[in-house]
């Protein structure tokens, strides 16, 4: 049923197409959770302040609570459910479990999507607010603990798992560097 307040849209989520009929006010977060069955992204604040709803849209981190579902048509959406490759956890997911980078787990889907985004942003040479040298001569600043802390600060964790989260992201970055070699 489509009228002035609703629309039929198509979302590409984790490689699958979902044709849904949504209230035009529906956020991408609510569409994922209520309409496409992706309850991995979490609603911690609904104001873009906590990061629990972080997903990847065309590979970039976004807070899905501040994105309207109707605006996400035509984009490749990746949620925490889509991070594993062929049922095998990604290194950063495995590191979160092994190093206990989580407690209650509610912020974890956002932390993980953010971590995947951070690794990609860093690999692409993006600096952060704590990057000391942003000159063209230094296209790849090292990804150290301070860089990870800064880049992961959009994702709040009330259990205080930050030190283990930093270790897990660094661990995954190391593993990726070894694979690249």
């Amino acid at each position: 049923m489509t009228d002035a307040t609703r629309g039929a849209i198509s979302l590409q989520v984790n490689g699958a197409e979902h044709r849904i009929d949504v209230d035009n006010r529906r956020t991408l977060l609510d569409a994922l959770r209520e309409d496409t069955g992706h309850t991995g992204p979490k609603k911690g604040c609904d104001f873009g302040q906590c990061g629990a709803c972080t997903i990847l849209v065309d590979g970039r981190r976004v807070v899905s609570c501040l994105t309207l579902a109707v605006a996400a048509q035509g984009s490749e959406i990746t949620t925490v459910e889509g991070l594993a490759e062929k049922d095998e956890l990604r290194p950063v997911q495995e590191a979160f479990v092994r190093l206990d980078g989580l407690q209650c787990g509610f912020c974890t889907p956002g932390q993980l999507c953010s971590a995947v985004g951070v690794l990609a942003e860093h690999a692409a040479g993006w600096p952060s607010a704590v990057t000391a040298d942003v000159s063209p001569d230094c296209p790849h600043p090292p990804l150290d603990a301070d860089e990870v802390r800064e880049r992961m600060s959009g994702n709040l964790c009330r259990c205080g798992a930050y030190p283990s989260i930093v270790r897990a992201v660094l661990d995954a970055a190391d593993e990726r560097a070894e694979v690249a070699r």
Partner: protein, 704 residues
Amino acid sequence: MTTHPQVIDGLGATPSIGSPRTRVEGEDKVSGKARYAGDVQVERLAHGAVVTATVARGRISGIDDRATLASPGVIGVIDHRNALRLNKETGSPFFGPDGQLQLLQDDRVSHGGQPVALVVAETPEQARAGAELLRVSCVEEPHDIAFGPNHQAVRPALTAFGPDADKGDLEAELAASAVVVDERYMTPAQHACAMEPHTATVWQEGVVLRAIDSNQAPYGVAATLATLFGKPLPEVRVQCEQVGGGFGSKTGVGPQLILATMAAVLLDRPVRVALTREEVFLTTSARPRTDQRVRLGADAGGRLRAIGHEATFEISGKAEFIENCVEIAKTLYAADAIRTRLSVVPLDILPVASVRAPGTAPGSFALESAMDELAERLEMDPLELRRRNEPETGPVSGLPFTSRRFQLCLTEGARRFGWAGRDHRPRRTRQGRLLVGTGMAGTSFLTTAFPSSATITAEPDGTFTVAIAAIDIGTGARTALRAIAADALGVGWDSVHLKIGDSAIGPAWQSGGSLGTTSWGWAIVAAARDLLARLESGPALPVSVTSDTTEEIMSRPHRERHSYSAVFAEVTVDPATGEVRVRRLVGRFAVGRVVNPLMVRSQLTGGMVMGLSIALQEEIVHDEASGRHVNADFADYHFAANADVPFIDADFVDDHEPDDPLGLKGPGEIGTVAVAAAIANAVWHATGKRQRELPIRLDRVIED
């Protein structure tokens, strides 16, 4: 039945206790499969949106719901005119009837943000739109939220957690002391801010009320809900697989569950109420503001003659509570005279309740700051001051300690931190524009166990199914209890299935008071012991045994049972901006035997992160004119983000609780205690200026 517990170790199988096993549900949590209260799909689900009061005190004079009911998708409006009537006596065994549970019962508004209606609709958007159209008229009355120890309504707090201490003659000992500290310390209201907003999904299944609810106590919540709605307990069932943090805020029946229950019954539909973040701040309890006076007197050698600790905190007129700020003053140090007083000021605020380490978090800030001030006036190492006042028995109670490892925490923490050789004078270290300082503090934390029951079934395939109405709010309870069961049954980890998170299993204590694992673990040990005895006769399988620990726990001797910690902090202070950064945090903890070192270390570390937030950031702000909470979101109520937190060194010292069958104490909250004082003392060491009011904001540190 034995009345004194035996220590149980793995018999014949590799012990699971002590193994740093990763979380049982870890893979589910990193792949989005873990299911929280708002993740459950239910047929015909309707959604409720809460309408909250905009005045702090008054009377509802009218509710116009015509526009709401005409709004698309709206199914119904519930307010005080049509709400189900609730049992007014419902409350807590410690504090009595709890007026916070009495939602939508009359036209009174007694605090800003009080729920006054629920709008139920087919979708969350329609419910929210309908809620915005509801016209609630109020006759506003003057409110009083002005907290202070000299408020005219101040009165003694309840004494359910023990009477005031009155040992010796405080005034005489202070008068005879060579050095005296007499200072006032203040802490603001703080919120638990669990990442998962309180969410309940409720439906009726025949006569049974079914609920999936984010809480810390499935059995306790079901029992209270049954009392509140006047239903027999077997007709109420509360479940939850995963809970996204609690920190005290989910120990009781939350507004989400009361409102969803009313709607599900009145509208005969499954209903979900997911509080918004703002509603979590406005309608779920905070830690109260405190105002504390600490008086310490010592002889010239640093031996304490007097400890006086008077604490006043705010409560609502609708419910009692005890923020036991003076607990540590009664047990941490020896002194000739110890006097404590605990007072409350009833105000027009949301009822206050437990937030991680209630009492001890604000109380230790005051006492351990005062100890640092005493060391300063004695020109003594604050660590040495704490060494010189070690009691042999409970300083007030006279009872023996079961296992007191405070000195070991101090020694190990100091060694790891590199405390030796510290120049104890303030403002001696500058690095560029930054001032650098170090500080320390310690604490005790009460530990015990509460009666619980567990059922264990010996299955025909040789495995065991353990059922207990425990809950895992991120503590690692699932993993810890399975390890405890495996060892108690003398079998390997893989032979144990664990069922938790369901009130129907039977009575069990909450994930609260740092007493989940001690209480549940004991019940599992008892059931395993009884089951193994039963199996000796070779019965046909399956066979189940249910055991309850009430008698064993109640027959324990009266003794002083506490966890201990010592926390060391290094901070930098930018005097031009007032910014305090924590560079290093070291904590050493005596928390009994450690069931899972990976998880307990995480919990202690996380506790210290919350302590850091409390020191530097957290503060609920009320507008005195409107009585409203004005920073009810994460942009304005700050707690630590990743970039605020250094690597934290949290570790255990060897410890074992002799009065617990597994040697356990609770590690859940102690990490949060002592951190604020350690940081405040480090800020003094860096700057020379005392910080007696939390949080240590920029404006309290900045220099001209």
